[in-house]
């Protein structure tokens, strides 16, 4: 029945399944990933059979993995990636080799032929990047040590797949390897150079040009175009799209448009990954489970146990504490999407039988399916017991104790210059591309984007900030940002620029620690200079201005109670003006009476 569905009908089913299942599973504490998977099983051929075209959906949604890798790349600039070289190549290679070894030995003990054992072990040694990373993100552990080690291992698997895809055909009958190794490498290097050079010199003016139009959707379109373009280009030279876009992400990590790119691609990544999980759920062939349940359950448990033991041991070597080793093991013990690719390849090369291939794919799928369940069990039952014994390791992130200045126009700049002259770390957010270009030339670290979006503030490191200074010219935006930040980060002190007297009181009400009227200080200074021109001594003019300021601020504060009643407010303003005149002239009289004559 799937074939005669229109695109919109298909979308309706997918979205409805996701919207029903995911919040439900999330509520039940089972995690979003499992929600998607079960939603997929429900609508797929093994469930209600509401939708067909599983393979096409799976293939299409694998692009979510590509976007995920691109986003991860954006978080890692080359120097951070370089720091990960040891876990990537040490831990990663150890995991892949040991898993292949252990899994194939187990298969050999079950009298599986050597070639099949090796092939299957290789396919199942790879873990599922989306399952692991999505679960980490759900737990908010992406930046933690487990997160980094998991990611490093997954990255090595992505790298290892390249030679495997090239090598496996050599073992089969069809030994015609494609492309010369040397020429292939040369092409890869050529593409990487193209991305570096393009990213450095072309991307910035193009982004600026597009940002200048202020059409958000064009910016989003360009972001997607960039990822798809680099992905396809990478695929052309024989690197997987995921690894290729990951590298592209790393190379763009230094770009100041990085955060805007992230924000634009993030929702697509989320949706496509959801679709990917649904597709995996749909592809579950329950008939095999019914016909040979013991073999499948045994294989899934065997796979997870053997891989888990390897991972648990390696986690110890990598310096993880006990409860993190458990998490690390469970996160990566499943088979992944590479198993689908590698098994299909093995089948095509006639290295394994069609039946064996179907069996392996079911095992891989089920292992992905049980991962969220195992993680949930770990969270609920294992972790509480493990945590009691050892303290949690916390990673110290850079950019700690920085000051975020949102809005870096003429106002914010003065604040920023003062702070940076004292070497206080300052992070700047602005949404004017011209401004950013300018600041970049002066060597500032600048984030481009809309301050009222929490994700941007989080990307800018608001959780580690010591102070937020809202210096935007747009009063409404500033108020929104203040409100949002106070809601999510109530302990973070905020200093704000106020457009006028009304804003002063509104900002205080929102909970801003202090605010200053943008024109007040400089206008007062002109007033002081005017007094001097009119014959006041410089010091008298200064003291008079200060006195005025003191009275004015007191009255402003007092006017807060009339904020909601315009009539009362106007009345109060009139009264206080008269009161102010009285006060000032009384002071003036006092002054002239004083004996300062000699």
């Amino acid at each position: 029945m799937g074939a005669d569905q229109t695109f919109l009908e298909g979308a309706l089913i997918y979205l409805a399944a996701a919207v029903v299942a995911v919040p439900l599973f999330k509520r039940l504490g089972l995690g979003a990933v499992l929600g998607y998977l079960v939603a997929g099983m429900a609508i797929g051929p093994s469930g209600f059979g509401l939708i067909g075209g599983v393979d096409a959906t799976l293939q299409f949604s694998e692009f979510g993995v590509v976007l995920l890798m691109f986003l991860i790349g954006l978080e890692l600039n080359p120097s951070k990636l370089w720091k990960l070289r040891k876990p990537i190549f040490g831990l990663g290679s150890a995991q892949v080799l040991l898993s292949i070894l252990v899994l194939s030995m187990a298969a050999l003990m079950l009298d599986v032929p050597l070639v099949v054992a090796l092939g299957a072990a290789t396919a199942l040694a790879m873990s599922s990047t989306p399952v692991a990373l999505q679960s980490l993100e759900e737990k908010g552990l992406s930046g933690s040590m487990v997160g980094r080690l998991s990611f490093s291992t997954l990255l090595f698997q992505d790298i290892a797949v390249i030679p495997l895809l090239a090598l496996l055909p050599l073992m089969g009958v069809d030994a015609a390897a494609e492309g010369g190794g040397f020429m292939g490498a040369l092409r890869v290097i050529g593409v990487l150079v193209l991305i570096i050079v393009g990213g450095q010199f072309l991307l910035r003016p193009v982004f600026r040009f597009i940002a200048d139009t202020r059409l958000r959707e064009v910016f989003t379109a360009f972001s997607l175009l960039l990822v798809i373009g680099t992905g396809l280009l990478m695929q052309q030279v024989g690197i997987s799209m995921a690894l290729g876009t990951f590298l592209a992400g790393v190379l763009l990590a230094e770009s100041e448009y990085r955060h805007e790119l992230e924000l634009n691609i993030e929702p697509f990544k989320g949706l496509l990954l959801g679709l990917f999980f649904i597709a995996v759920g749909m592809s579950v062939d329950l008939s095999l489970l019914v016909s040979s349940p013991l073999a499948i359950i045994g294989a899934v448990l065997g796979l997870i146990t053997l891989k888990g033991v390897v991972l648990y041991g390696l986690g110890g070597f990598a310096g993880l504490v006990r409860q993190d080793r458990m998490l690390f093991a469970l996160l990566l013990a499943q088979g992944g999407e590479f198993a689908f690719v590698l098994i299909a390849l093995l089948k095509n090369q006639a290295l394994i039988s069609v039946e064996a291939a179907a069996f392996l794919i079911v095992v891989a799928t089920f292992s992905m399916l049980v991962t969220p369940v195992l993680l949930m069990i770990n969270d609920k039952f294992l972790q509480p017991r493990l945590t009691s014994s050892s303290a949690l390791e916390s990673d110290i992130e850079h950019n700690e104790n920085h000051v975020i200045i949102a809005g870096y126009g003429r106002f914010g700049q003065i604040v920023g210059r003062l702070l940076s002259s004292l070497k206080i770390p300052v992070t700047v957010i602005d949404h004017d591309p011209n401004q950013i270009e300018m600041l970049r030339r002066f060597g500032f670290k600048v984030f481009y984007g809309d301050v009222t979006r929490l994700e941007l503030l989080e990307a800018a490191g608001i959780s580690k900030a010591k102070l937020l200074i809202l210096a935007l010219g747009d009063g409404e935006m500033l108020m929104d940002a203040a409100q949002m930040v106070k809601e999510h980060y109530p302990d973070l002190p905020i200093l704000a620029r106020a457009a006028n007297r009304g804003d002063m009181n509104r900002l205080k009400e929102v909970g801003v620690n202090d605010a200053r009227r943008e024109m007040f200080a400089s206008s007062l200074e002109i007033g002081e200079l005017a007094l001097k021109q009119l014959g006041y001594s410089a010091h008298q003019a200064h003291k008079t201005a200060l006195k005025f300021r003191g009275y004015d601020e007191k009255m402003l504060e007092a006017s807060a109670q009339f904020r909601d009643d315009e009539k009362l407010l106007i009345n109060y303003a009139k009264q206080s003006r008269i009161h102010l005149e009285d006060l000032m002239s009384a002071d003036q009289e006092e002054l002239s009476k004083r004996e300062e004559g000699w």
Binding site: G535, Y536, S537, A538, H539, Q540, H542, G597, W598
Partner: protein
Amino acid sequence: MKNILIIFAHPAPNKSGLNRHLAAEAAKLKNVEVRELYELYPNLHIDVRAEQEALRRADVLVFQFPVQWFSSPAILKEWQDSVLTNGFAYGDGERALRDKEFLLAVSTGGSPESYQTKGRHGAPLSQYLAPFEQTARFCDMKIIDPFTVQNAGDLTPDLLQRTVQNYTDVLIQLGKYHYGS
């Protein structure tokens, strides 16, 4: 000719009947630099480098101020605290004021009689000026007898003119000869 630096502290010079004239006439001498502290630093934030540079140029330092509450106006205390730093004026280092001459030029509203042990102000003026002279001494400066004007609030035009003349004469003399030689 020696360079004379007058550090002039008056919170409202435009209302001054004496000091304003003293400073204005002094400023006409070409070897005299007058720095009017309240005009230069209305918010009391003193440019320490500029002040120290001026001190380096000078051979004679004059503090000119109306006595207020038996001391100087507030800014002159702030000036001493921030300009006469360790390493510049005293202690190890430059000792930039060593062997320069120091003159106090002060005016009081009170009469000479009131500045007596038994008078209204309880002590001779010199006692109130002692902290300034000790500051100069501590910086290895040579102290010159102060130029004082009392009853400064009630000077006749004639007396005012003579006082101004006396002041410029003192400065001219100081500019010519080294004290004590």
